[in-house]
C-alpha cells in the first residue's frame, strides 16, 4: 500500500506544479498586463514604468520562478488594489469559506446518506421515487437562483433569517442550504447505487443466512461496503465546494475567498487571483490524496494487496 500511496503522491506533486504554472499564466493571457494596470490614458513611458515596477518586463519563466521561490517562503505578493499582502487577505477570508464549505458538506451528508440508504432498502417505493426526484431537482437548479429564492421567501417575506453579513451563525443557514443542495444529489445517488449493489450481493445473502439482525445486515455489512466510493466523493466535493463557493458568496455577500477571487478578477489583481487559484487547487489535490489514503485504509483489498 505504501508504494501505491507514494506513487499517488508523486503524481500529485507533478499535478501541483502544472497547476501552479497554469494559475500563474491565467491572467497574463490578456496580453499586456502592464498597460491594463497603467490605465487607458497611460503613455508608453508610463506603461514601461509600470511594467518595470511589477517586474513584468522580465522573461515569463523568471517571473514564475521568482514567484514560486517567494511563495515557498510564505510571500505571495501584494494585492494591486489594496497593497495588502495576499497571505493576509486570504487568511482573513479563508475562515468564512471553510466554514461555509464544511457546513454545506455536513448538511448534504446528513440528508444524502440516510435518504440513499432508505431508498435502496425500498426500491421503487414512494420514498425511493421522492428521493430521486429531489436529486433531479437539486442537480437541475441553478444554485444562485435558489439562493435568491430563499432570500425572498425566508429573508424578506417571512423575515426568519438575515440576508447578509457574516457575524452570526444564522447568516450561514441559507448559504449552507443553497450550497448543500448542489452537492447533495450526487452523494445520495452514489449511496443509493452502492447500497443496491451491496444488498444484491452474495455476501449479504450469506449474512442473512447466518440469521443476523436487519440492522447488522444493513449497517455492518452492506453500508460498510457501499460507503467506500462515497468517502472519495465527499473529499472531492469538499474541494469543489472550496472552489465553487464564489457564486453563493456573491449572492449572500459573504466575505470569503471566492468572493475575493471574483473581485480580483474584475480588477485584474493578478497576484491575488493566481494565489487563490493555486491555493484552491492545492487543497483539492491534498483532499484527493487524503481520500486515496482513507480508501486504501478502509478497503482491505487495497490495504493488504
Amino acid at each position: 500500500m505504501s508504494r501505491f500511496l507514494i506513487h499517488r503522491a508523486l503524481i500529485a506533486l507533478l499535478v501541483a506544479i502544472t497547476v501552479s504554472i497554469i494559475g500563474f499564466t491565467l491572467l497574463r493571457l490578456s496580453g499586456d498586463l502592464a498597460s491594463a494596470l497603467a490605465g487607458d490614458t497611460a503613455t508608453q513611458a508610463q506603461i514601461a514604468n509600470t511594467a518595470h515596477l511589477y517586474g513584468l518586463d522580465r522573461p515569463l519563466y523568471i517571473q514564475y520562478f521568482d514567484w514560486v521561490w517567494k511563495a515557498l517562503h510564505g510571500d505571495l505578493g501584494r494585492s494591486l488594489f489594496t497593497n495588502e499582502p495576499v497571505t493576509f487577505l486570504i487568511g482573513q477570508r479563508i475562515g468564512v469559506t471553510v466554514q461555509l464549505s464544511i457546513m454545506s458538506l455536513v448538511f448534504a451528508l446528513l440528508i444524502a446518506i440516510p435518504l440513499g440508504v432508505v431508498a435502496a432498502t425500498r426500491p421503487n417505493s414512494w420514498i425511493d421515487r421522492a428521493s430521486l426526484g429531489l436529486a433531479v431537482l437539486g442537480q437541475g437548479m441553478p444554485n444562485f437562483w435558489f439562493g435568491l429564492i430563499l432570500i425572498i421567501v425566508f429573508g424578506v417575506s417571512l423575515r426568519w433569517l438575515p440576508i447578509s453579513g457574516t457575524d452570526h451563525f444564522s447568516n450561514f443557514i441559507m448559504p449552507t442550504i443553497t450550497l448543500g443542495t448542489s452537492v447533495m444529489p450526487a452523494i445520495m445517488r452514489l449511496t443509493r447505487t452502492g447500497m443496491l449493489d451491496a444488498l444484491d450481493s452474495d455476501y449479504i445473502r450469506t449474512a442473512r443466512a447466518k440469521g443476523l439482525s436487519t440492522g447488522s445486515v444493513l449497517f455492518k455489512h452492506a453500508l460498510r461496503n457501499a460507503i467506500l466510493p462515497v468517502v472519495s466523493l465527499t473529499a472531492v466535493s469538499l474541494g469543489f465546494l472550496l472552489g465553487g463557493s464564489v457564486i453563493v458568496e456573491s449572492v449572500f455577500a459573504l466575505n470569503g475567498i471566492g468572493f475575493l477571487a471574483f473581485q480580483s478578477i474584475l480588477r485584474t489583481d493578478f497576484p491575488v487571483v493566481q494565489s487563490i487559484v493555486v491555493f484552491v487547487s492545492f487543497c483539492y489535490i491534498l483532499l484527493t490524496l487524503v481520500s486515496d489514503m482513507i480508501n486504501a485504509y478502509l478497503d482491505p483489498r487495497i490495504r493488504l494487496g
Binding site: 497554469i22 493571457l29 437548479m141 435568491l148 429564492i149 472550496l242 472552489g243 465553487g244 478578477i265 474584475l266
Partner: protein
C-alpha cells in the same frame, strides 16, 4: 440399463445439454419499445424539443423585439398579477422589454452554448479518452495526468478569469466552457475503450492487420457512442447552468443579449417587489436542465444492454 459402480464414476460430469430456440427481438426493436414506454425519456425529449422549436421560431412566435426598450412600459407584472395585461404575458423588465420574448430568445443562447460546449468538450474528451484507453502505457499516463490537472483547477474561477481576458461573447463563452468540462468524457471513454480493447473482436482485427486508426474508429468508437451521448446530455445541462451563473455574476454573456442568467441578475435589484423577474428565468433554466438530465438518463436506460433487472 447398466448399473454404475460408485467408486468408478468420474467425479465430475458435464451439465446436461439442450438446444434452445429463442426468438430474440433485434436491439433496435428493444430500444424503440423501451423509448416509447420510458416516462423520463419522453418527458425530457418533449421539453427539449419544444425548447429547441421555440428558440428557432422565436421571431414567428412573438411580435416583440427582445432588444427594444420602452421605458413607458417598465416593470409590468405578468398576466396573472393584479396589474398584468395580456399584452405582455410574462410582464416586462426594468427596460420595458417584453419578458416572454426575452425568455424565448434567451433559450437560443442557452441551447447554443449548451450544445456547443458539450460538443467541444465531447470531441476533446473522447479523443483523449480513446487515445489513452487504447494505447495504454505512458500515453495513458500522460492522459491521466492531464485529467488530474484539469480536475484540480477550480472550474468556475478559471472560467471567470478566461472570460475576463477573452471577453463575453456567445462564441468565447462556448469555447471556454467546452475547454473546461471534458473530464467526464475522458473518464468514461477511457474505461470503455480499455474494456473494449481486450475484447476478442478487436484482437481479431489487429491480427488481420487493420490499422490502429481504423480499429479505433471502426470497432471501439461505436461501443463508446451511447455512453458519449449520455454524457453529452449531462454536460450540456452543466454548461447551461454554468453559463447562467457566469452571466449572473456579470462575467458571462454581456447585456443586452438575453441570457437567462443575465436576466436573473438584472432582475435582482427589483426582486423584492417584482419577484417574477427572478423567478421566471430561473424556472426556465430549471425546467430545461431537468429535462436534459432526464433525457440523458432515459437514453442511458434505453441503450443499456440487458443486464440490471
Amino acid at each position: 440399463m447398466t448399473s454404475i459402480e460408485r467408486d468408478r464414476v468420474i467425479i465430475s460430469s458435464p451439465a446436461p445439454t439442450y438446444e434452445i430456440e429463442i426468438e430474440a427481438p433485434s436491439p433496435h426493436m428493444i430500444m424503440r419499445r423501451r423509448a416509447l414506454t420510458h416516462p423520463g425519456f419522453l418527458f425530457g425529449a418533449t421539453i427539449v424539443l419544444a425548447t429547441v422549436l421555440i428558440a428557432l421560431c422565436a421571431p414567428l412566435l412573438t411580435p416583440y423585439d427582445p432588444y427594444a426598450q420602452d421605458l413607458s412600459q417598465r416593470l409590468i407584472p405578468p398576466v396573472w398579477a393584479l396589474k398584468g395585461s395580456w399584452a405582455h404575458l410574462l410582464g416586462t423588465d426594468a427596460m420595458g422589454r417584453d419578458y416572454l420574448t426575452r425568455l424565448m430568445y434567451g433559450a437560443r443562447v442557452s441551447l447554443t452554448i449548451g450544445f456547443g460546449a458539450a460538443a467541444i468538450a465531447g470531441i476533446i474528451g473522447t479523443s483523449l479518452g480513446l487515445i489513452g484507453g487504447y494505447f495504454g502505457g505512458w500515453v495513458d499516463s500522460v492522459v491521466m495526468y492531464l485529467v488530474n490537472v484539469k480536475l484540480a483547477l477550480p472550474g468556475i474561477l478559471v472560467a471567470l478569469s478566461l472570460i475576463e481576458v477573452f471577453g463575453g461573447s456567445v462564441f468565447s463563452v462556448t469555447l471556454i466552457l467546452g475547454v473546461l468540462f471534458w473530464d467526464r468524457f475522458i473518464v468514461v471513454t477511457r474505461s470503455v475503450t480499455q474494456q473494449t480493447r481486450v475484447a476478442d473482436y478487436v484482437t481479431a482485427a489487429e491480427a488481420v492487420g487493420a490499422s490502429r486508426l481504423r480499429i479505433i474508429l471502426g470497432e471501439v468508437l461505436p461501443n463508446v457512442l451511447n455512453h458519449i451521448i449520455v454524457i453529452a446530455s449531462l454536460e450540456m445541462a452543466v454548461a447551461i447552468l454554468v453559463e447562467a451563473a457566469l452571466s449572473f455574476l456579470g462575467l458571462g454573456i454581456r447585456p443586452p443579449t438575453p441570457s437567462w442568467g443575465l436576466m436573473i441578475s438584472e432582475g435582482r435589484n427589483f426582486m423584492f417587489f417584482q419577484p417574477y423577474l427572478v423567478a421566471v428565468p430561473g424556472i426556465a433554466i430549471l425546467v430545461l436542465v431537468v429535462a436534459i438530465n432526464m433525457l440523458g438518463d432515459g437514453i442511458r436506460d434505453i441503450t443499456a444492454p440487458e443486464g440490471r433487472n
